[in-house]
């Protein structure tokens, strides 16, 4: 009993000292600009999430008094909050919907600027034991369309394994979901419903990795980080089978599942110096951030456009 008590006491003291005595210690260390302060709330796509998180980390390293929080409620969920005025920047893996979401923002008086920050492709992956090399868009549609009862790949194309599938995919708040259903099933939001939905791409990867019949789709960056554990399926849209790589995504060769990733700062937020500095930081340091987040970076011409877009936004804000 005495031993336990002593051990416990030492443990608590150590933790206490560590927690209390290092409030000014941060990952980046070093000097940096301490003039900026404030809170920046970011929420939205879980595909853009890691990018925003990496950006937040690096930015906070140089500006320790700015607090950045990053949520991942999905592109749709993010816009709902954004248009309710609850967040400063919305992460999105698809443009804001002009007929559903933009009017809500307009009604609430929230104006914003669309800025591209990175690229992404949607990777279709399977469990390592489920071998399939390539699927056409039509086959993918047969598998994922609304009302589909397909239980195994052999029903989509003969010769493929007949293992019972465990399907994983983004939930309905996800931009990835909107994009995939539009490109593959022909209409946004149209999809079969008997799969495991999650806005959190991590959960999808875990699920596919661990289930013999796992198959699903999510952002390419999540594949890249887990390449050795998953089987990547090439997509054929009529011009040959293409397996996504960073280069193919940037060039648009990986069709139809390549797309730009956006951040939408609100004008109101951009008027604040810390938010302005943050967005500037993002477009200036896009390479390093993308590398940390394992996301496909923009091409140089896309960067030039992004800077222009941001400039427009800043002008409107002030």
């Amino acid at each position: 009993m005495r031993m336990l008590l002593a051990f416990a006491a030492v443990g608590v003291l150590a933790l206490g000292a560590a927690a209390c005595g290092s409030d000014d210690n941060s990952n980046g260390g070093g000097g940096g600009n301490s003039n900026l302060s404030g809170t920046i709330k970011i929420d939205g796509s879980s595909t853009v999430g890691p990018f925003a998180q990496a950006a937040a980390e690096k930015f906070q390293g140089e500006n320790p008094n700015v607090k950045v929080t990053v949520g991942t409620s999905g592109t749709g969920g993010g816009f709902e909050k954004f248009c309710a005025g609850e967040t400063d920047i919305s992460d999105a893996s698809r443009p804001i919907k002009p007929d559903e979401e933009a009017p809500v923002c307009k009604k609430k008086g929230i104006t914003y600027q669309q800025v591209q920050v990175a690229n992404d492709g949607i990777a279709v992956t399977t469990n390592k034991d489920l071998t399939v090399d390539c699927l056409t868009v039509a086959q993918l549609k047969k598998l994922w369309n609304k009302g589909s009862k397909v239980k195994s790949l052999s029903e989509v194309k003969s010769g493929l394994p007949s293992t019972k599938l465990s399907l994983y995919g983004p939930g309905t708040d996800s931009g990835t979901f909107d994009f995939f259903t539009e490109k593959i099933n022909g209409e946004e939001g149209v999809s079969r419903t008997d799969y495991q939905p999650s806005e959190d791409d991590n959960v999808l990867v875990q699920g596919i990795e661990g289930s013999g019949g796992g198959l699903g789709y999510f952002g390419f960056s999540y594949y890249e980080g887990n390449a050795s554990k998953l089987n990547l399926v090439g997509v054929d849209d009529g011009s040959g089978c293409v397996k996504p790589t960073a280069a193919d995504i940037q060039s648009g060769k990986y069709k139809p599942l390549s797309r730009p990733l956006f951040m939408y700062p609100s004008e109101k937020a951009l008027a604040r110096p810390e938010v302005k500095a943050f967005m500037r930081y993002v477009v200036e340091n896009y390479q390093g951030i993308a590398k940390d987040a394992q996301i496909v970076p923009m091409t140089s011409s896309q960067v030039a456009d992004a800077k222009k877009e941001l400039g427009q936004g800043e002008a409107k804000a002030s």
Binding site: G77, D200, G210, G214
Partner: protein, 313 residues
């Protein structure tokens, strides 16, 4: 007689000097009463908050659809709000958990109260308390990262998905063992020694005494502990959220993923929900359902104890 056992008889302390009643005394009593009201306010708050949104929910979703519908897809178009798959998931996992917890818990209780030497009792009881204090997320971690891959997939060669109900259920069972064990053990030790001695005197073996004499006498307490265990299992969120996956399925196959009422609320809430949206309303309707189920179980448990308790001396 120890003051600690005076549960039902509280001696009225004579208040001498009633003539000089300071108004301060009444004020203090009032303040304390208000503090006690907070707990009532909490319950009222829970009921009101759940009820309000649930009513709104049922204005757009029919009660019949909710109760007997077999598809739970509230966020898809077209949305379907049948709660049955969630109930199937909840009770499937609870069932598995109780299959583990009841024998282990009651067994440990019988062992501790009838067989164990005092020294053994003194070491095991704190360990049980420790187990009872482990945060449920630790159990969830264990289920997902160790139990499923190593035990279920490697050692037992079961074809389970990485997120499955079996793993969550078994681990939840272990989490509930301390609840069942400690309440059952209290009930068993409350049985007076005279009953045991009488049976021994008649030539019964220890096993016979434990199972035929002591256990039936403590039955109400043991049953109460099981009902409480079920209630805990139904209300448990983290183990399921981490390890049992996210599909609302009607199948009773535990090798695949299953949403329960609690894990659905947790999964939706993790994305953080805007007020007034479809998701917001569903968590209240589900929360209400959950609250009613656990309330019913707790009332049954209390009733059981009161009705069947054998009073000694």
């Amino acid at each position: 007689m120890e003051a600690g056992t005076a549960t039902t008889t509280r001696r009225a302390v004579p208040y001498i000097g009633a003539a000089r009643r300071r108004w301060g005394e009444d004020l203090i009593k009032g303040i304390l009463f208000l503090a006690a009201l907070i707990s009532v306010l909490t319950t009222t708050g829970i009921v009101i908050s759940l009820l309000r949104e649930t009513v709104v929910f049922f204005q757009s979703v029919g009660l019949g659809d909710y109760l007997i519908g077999t598809k739970w897809t509230p966020t898809f178009q077209p949305a379907s709000f049948g709660v049955l798959p969630l109930l199937v998931g909840t009770f499937l996992i609870t069932g598995i958990a109780m299959v583990v917890a009841v024998p282990l818990g009651i067994g440990s209780a019988i062992y501790l109260s009838e067989y164990a030497r005092p020294r053994v009792r003194r070491t095991i009881k704190p360990i049980l308390e420790l187990l009872a204090g482990v945060p449920t997320i630790v159990f969830g971690y264990f289920a997902l990262t160790y139990f499923t891959p190593n035990i279920l997939q490697d050692i037992l060669h079961l074809r389970v998905d990485v997120f499955n109900a079996l793993s969550a259920g078994i681990i939840m069972g272990f989490m509930i063992v301390p609840t069942v064990a400690s309440i059952s053990e209290d009930a068993l030790t409350a049985v007076p020694q005279s009953l045991r001695e009488g049976a021994f005197a008649l030539g019964a073996s220890r096993l016979q005494v434990s199972l035929r004499v002591v256990f039936p006498a403590a039955l109400s307490g043991v049953v109460a502990s099981v009902v409480l265990g079920v209630s805990r299992a139904v209300g448990e969120t983290m183990i399921v959220l981490v390890a049992a996956g996210q599909i609302a399925s009607m199948s009773a196959d535990p090798r695949g993923p299953h949403y329960t009422i609690t894990s659905f609320i947790g999964a939706i809430a993790k994305g953080d929900i805007p007020t007034g949206s479809v998701e917001y309303k569903t968590i209240f309707a589900l929360g209400m359902t959950l609250f009613l189920i656990t309330l019913a179980m707790n009332l049954i448990s209390i009733r059981f104890v009161r009705k069947y308790r054998q009073v000694y001396e």
